[in-house]
Symmetry: D2
Subunit: 476 residues, 4 copies
């Protein structure tokens, strides 16, 4: 072939090498997302750096990363050593140089993504644990610093996972009721101060605060909590499950770090970066990431690489531009959802709750749909929506009782013992499109009309209960 | 096309349906392994049962299993909801019926695999955690039953992971030194009894015993330990990391369950079933699986599905026949490795240690390779082998010192403060072939010759240390 | 899991079955494109209907579709029998019911796609041959009807492939020069009539007319040619390589069929449907598809299934809506390209040729870029654009001489012995985006500026020649 | 990570580069097969050399290799330009340097594979056409050399494809009946000589001889035919469909080339190299490959790359060692099939035909299974076997009549008007295993027993006909 053309082909190969070089030296999201071929090419190059893929390697140990199924091998790009060593979940594995590079690069890209989202100067470890278990291992590591401090102050948030994450450590969770401010449920700072005093600061391991939540609960007053923790010399873990995607939340965290104490911030990979469930970004201020390192080095043994690999691929595929576009799109979609939900609410004689501080979750009241016998029927609406292929919307009665371990909650799901009205939640998460909003509102409208009709007919108790159990209301 | 031929095509499709039907009703490994196409077909059918793959689904929640990258979507077969709910890691997810089925079926197939290997009547949960973290969550759950019992008796096994798994819970590990019996290091039962008495049985949460280990350490005397635990009413967790593949080990566990107390048995998925690192089979006697259920229901939130999916695919691909053939092949390979290693040892003036109780790991002495200045040079042999593409063989000096948390170990790596000789370990793990054995022995022979030459030349301290650190000796 | 949720999962599976059912019964493009998972699921189901994938099949023949490489197996979805039988390229294969179904369905969907594009009532065979070879086999089949007719009248179109397609049959091509009408080169109907008379209609096998071509050549005057063929009782093959994507072209063909004679119409799959090179849609009016059937049944033996499978997947993925949207988008992009090219031309003192009849290809003059020594330098511009990552644009000098077999052409590439001006071609093909147009025009502008600078410096003969040879100008 | 380990990882990457380098410089099958990961890595690197995968490429032509479906893109590794240019099917494509390299390398590796199989010194073009169409294009190119020679002498072989391949060119096939020698049907050399004389050598374009065929037809007497062609100055095309896998056949061809005239030899890729149907290796003696080049350069336009890519992957995956092992295994399997078939034949009162010259196909007589009314019932046995998942075995009555174009054949399928006995064919093709043989013989035995029982009951005509039509007996 002509020289010009051969030259072009070779320079295309070199451009791929250049992209890889940039990734290794700049250690951040590529400015533009990579195409799938370039990503797979890199994965296969890295895979060849793992010892189980060396030509002529012979294994005489008990763990040699032999893979039986070719499907399994292929979907893991031949990488089988997992991540971590006995010494540290983030440690390089001598047997798996390629896998180890992926871990390191993903950590760096996660820090870059947080920076783009509004949290600069964080050090990140991407762990193959979802948020709940990540909180557990974080608390265990915290606890080794102050073994005698047994209490964890927990501003009430009605999702089982966070509470169980505390309980599974053997520590004692102390729920702090929320204060009603207008329609919103917010951190009761005075009560928290009193609680610390009552328990004794030296007995309090930390506060676990929450940023992202279903409205009408608002993100916790993070700056004030951080200041209080600094003052009282107690730890502060922020559960920022899906808060990376909203600028007001990342700003809140950044402020809290600046003005007070934040030890670690936990965020879900699936909820913020559109990967399958299974990972978390464990972040600490780069000014003091000592706890972060302690958490990682306390991790016993190795772990699955899968969630890290999913995020690595996704970061390369998105690029910085793709990620920031997704953040902008989400913001627009939230505005549209709010406007549309207001219209639907008005049409059915209801209103949207005033919860300006919550940047992702909305709620419309369902007062006129209450059964004469009580609100319990309300949750059935969630099941009706799911049956119409609307997932994620939660109908909250506010009269549910729930027992979790030693705790008994009234009004579970509503974050308060007695929230004034029943309501329906809807959220505008990253990746939602305008088309989704339109379709959701249209189905909601139709379902509400149908639900109103059903109200005249007595609904059977069995259906109600079943629908309730299945509802994804309590999961984070 | 002719009727005969159309009929044949349709009946082929029905045979696939029949295979799926059998899997769902019989809930065990298929007699014969499935081909890859049939496995992928089933995965895609199950994937369609997850709500994020419903045609026309609209998500209005904060977690909608949207997947950004088509590569990530494809390698996860479109399944993105992970496993577990806030209530239980093993719970069905209403939003993900297909994923949930995979979890259940994998649990059943794991129990069948254990049965085939010699552990009948076990109930299994396949968890997306490697063995170390699985031990941690197991101990945490145990601890909730008896919050005041703080001690964990741990017959010494020189791998950091297990010790760290205990330490990370906040419990206090109490190492029990091994007794030298001939060449072997075995459980010191008398000392264990004395230890329980000294600590007070009510203060001892449990014993963590180990079955699979590097020789000359032998599998713990499980039956006697189990009897002692039953007697003293303390818990018993068996770390059976790679013991599923050896019949004498599974027999040992089965006997221990029959005669004494075993609460849970932990086994690695990657070491026994040839999948990438990341999962464990947590098993309990089906006669009393209460702790198993408590462990799972204490798990906070969701988790990655990847390790479960890898095992699901592998089980279908292996089938019962494939798995039993692998077990048989391993047994033969072990015999060949033993014979060959004996020959190499003799050639170099060494001998193979007499450790009949250990069915998987062998050791040849390295006495004649010691440096005049001490044994520390021995570990360099491991690095030399790795550089010659032999992974997994460990050269143990027996004079290493190691500090792990509050513990200081002499002779770390050798499971004893002062094992009489330095040695080299080699193991015959599942999937090793006769060709691997031949090649390994040939390279070992050459490396020993070369190593002997180097001995006359002073080896530099730097090399030695580096080689040592990188050595995979301490990892499980 | 709750009944509601299990029900949803099952109904999702049934929806997939329903989609397959619709495809089998309605035999046309699905209204909406399918997702990749549903497509792969169907492919694997069909694959199981091929005998080589029957469980327990034993082959004792010389062709058993055994596939060595798992990569090859996977990329062909386990289908290995190819298409066709010795009797007919379109015949069902008894050994491969699944593959055969794909062939039939793709034929039906191709007919539907032509209908959507403006060619209703066509019968289609998708053949695994590109357009050139498809024309060859069509002419061979035509020739068996009238073995004594040796001439093929061919209105000149400067691409080697079509001429070679005629030559390789052993028939005698007779080029018909185009007539200059304004800027356009159009079919010289009077000359064609004279040519038929001169050769004797009984000696003329057919006319091979062309619809899609680089401007300033216009699509042939198809209606008049078809009428002439009908009158003279000679065959008529339409080379419609990339004409499916332009409504005026499909309308032209439809009119020609209605008013005159069209035996078969040949269109490229890659150029119209965005698949890799390798297939053609061979279409005939459903009112008389006898030649179509003769062509297929004259095909000796089997053939690759790959181009058919690519088109099958693509049709399912596009759906009717996706395809019509692409057609609309192309039309808009063409308008934008025309506008933008006009601006660039004006800026550089040139103009866009007036060629309204050509709906896909545009040309701007390059008169002011001619070298004093002659126009030959013009082609260098094409190589410069390719080196700047602009592919597909052709710089035509109009003074190229070319010998193809017995034919010597002046002004090759320009479709005329002496086209008045040199020019640059650009086309708006299906799948081109507005972004592509903007980027192309920007680079063209810059390249023209640079080219003008180079003109002052004598360009070396070597470069020129090389650039010319590599240029993709003559390929269809 | 330690230096030693980083070094190992990097050297693993360099080993892959070395393998690629060797491939490019040595241009033959790698000594050992490559693993799938290394193959995919190379494919993706080559893909990046195609212009459609250049970062930032903008297309302004009518063919820009845009690919709509991500599934299609992925299964073609992003390569979409096909192979060939208008000038030559084997020409490099300037727009697709990577694809072009694959074409060239596959040609070289095919020549190496032929050499390993016993045909040294051949030049090969791998064409994306199955054997039938490859014969057609070869004859068309031959015909351009001597346009007046219209006859093709064709020693009778009862498979439609080859005859149709001749017929579709417009040339006149002249069948030459076989001579019965013992059980075998062999080339009637005297008759061939007479035929040439009768037709006039200047009127005979060529002989199309056949090497691989169903016994009792033997491979043609190639050496004598080649000598006769040389003498008479007429062409000689060898149809070597599946003859690469048998050493006696490759030896025969090599001898014929040495002693007489062979213009081109056509072999199937799927039948010899275990890839899906769709390609052929067109080979010519490297001492005179002029016809080979003429065939390729007469090919009009581009073609699908798929069959070439399948073969490229397979060659890399097999390596020289894998291919030679397959050849050896086939030879052993043939011996076993012969022995086993002899036993089954004896048990049912039949015998295996004495056909020593045929190295791949066997036949056992079915004389005792004839219906009193005639032999037509015999073909039903083939359908019975297919219904029992035995494909490829052919039951030949020897009394079938068949019309193909102007030809009427008696005893079609038996290669002779009146072969003395009906029989069943079975072949030992490449990739068949000992397990296949055992299973086939067992099912054959059972089916014969059952067939004998059916004979007492009148079989219905409908079944018989249907079975016959579907039977794969005539396909090559």
């Amino acid at each position: 072939i002509g020289e010009t053309y051969a030259h072009q082909g070779a320079s295309s190969l070199r451009m791929q090498e250049k992209m890889v070089q940039n990734l290794l030296t700049q250690r951040c999201l590529p400015p533009q997302g990579w195409d799938d071929q370039s990503i797979e090419l890199l994965l296969q190059q890295l895979s060849l750096m793992d010892s189980n893929n060396f030509k002529g390697n012979v294994g005489a140990g008990e763990r040699e990363a032999r893979v039986y199924s070719s499907l399994v091998k292929s979907r893991n790009y031949g990488m089988a050593h997992g991540i971590g060593r006995s010494g540290d979940i983030m440690a390089m594995q001598p047997k798996a140089a390629g896998s180890s590079l992926i871990v390191q690069l993903t950590n760096y890209m996660a820090a870059h993504a947080l920076k783009l989202a509004g949290m600069p100067k964080m050090k990140c470890h991407v762990v193959p644990l979802a948020t709940g278990m990540t909180i557990t291992v974080s608390l265990l590591a915290m606890s080794r610093r102050r073994p005698d401090a047994k209490y964890v102050i927990w501003p009430r948030i009605d999702q089982k996972t966070c509470l169980k994450a505390i309980m599974s450590t053997g520590l004692t969770a102390v729920p702090l009721p929320n204060a009603l401010e207008g329609d919103m449920l917010r951190t009761d700072l005075a009560a928290m101060e009193a609680m610390i005093e009552e328990l004794g600061a030296h007995n309090v391991l930390c506060v676990v605060s929450t940023t992202s939540c279903f409205t009408p609960r608002a993100p916790d007053k993070l700056v004030e909590i951080a200041e209080m923790c600094k003052q009282a010399d107690i730890g502060h873990l922020v559960n920022n499950a899906y808060g990376v995607q909203t600028a007001s939340t990342t700003q809140l965290i950044t402020n809290a770090i600046r003005k007070g104490r934040v030890d670690v911030v936990v965020q879900s990979t699936d909820k913020n970066f559109m990967v399958p469930v299974g990972g978390a970004v464990l972040a600490a201020p780069s000014s003091d990431s000592s706890l972060l390192n302690e958490i990682s080095s306390a991790y016993p043994g190795r772990a699955s690489m899968a969630p890290v690999m999913d995020l690595f691929i996704t970061f390369l595929s998105m690029g910085a531009q793709g990620f920031t576009e997704l953040l902008q799109q989400r913001k627009q979609v939230f505005a549209q959802l709010k406007e549309g939900l207001t219209q639907v609410a008005e049409k059915h004689g209801e209103r949207v709750l005033e919860t300006k501080v919550n940047p992702i979750s909305l709620a419309m009241t369902l007062s006129s749909f209450e059964d004469p016998a009580g609100r319990a029927n309300i949750t059935f609406l969630g099941a009706m929506l799911f049956a119409r292929n609307c997932s994620g919307a939660r109908a909250v009665s506010g009269v549910e009782k729930k027992t979790i371990g030693p705790f008994e909650f009234d009004g579970f799901g509503a974050h308060a013992d007695a929230y004034p009205v029943p309501y329906l939640n809807a959220a505008a998460g990253i990746g939602m499109t305008l088309g989704d909003v339109t379709e959701f509102l249209s189905r909601l409208d139709a379902t509400l009309t149908e639900f109103r009709k059903k109200l005249s007919v007595k609904s059977k108790a069995g259906e109600k209960t079943e629908a309730l159990e299945g509802a994804p209301s309590e999961e984070v």
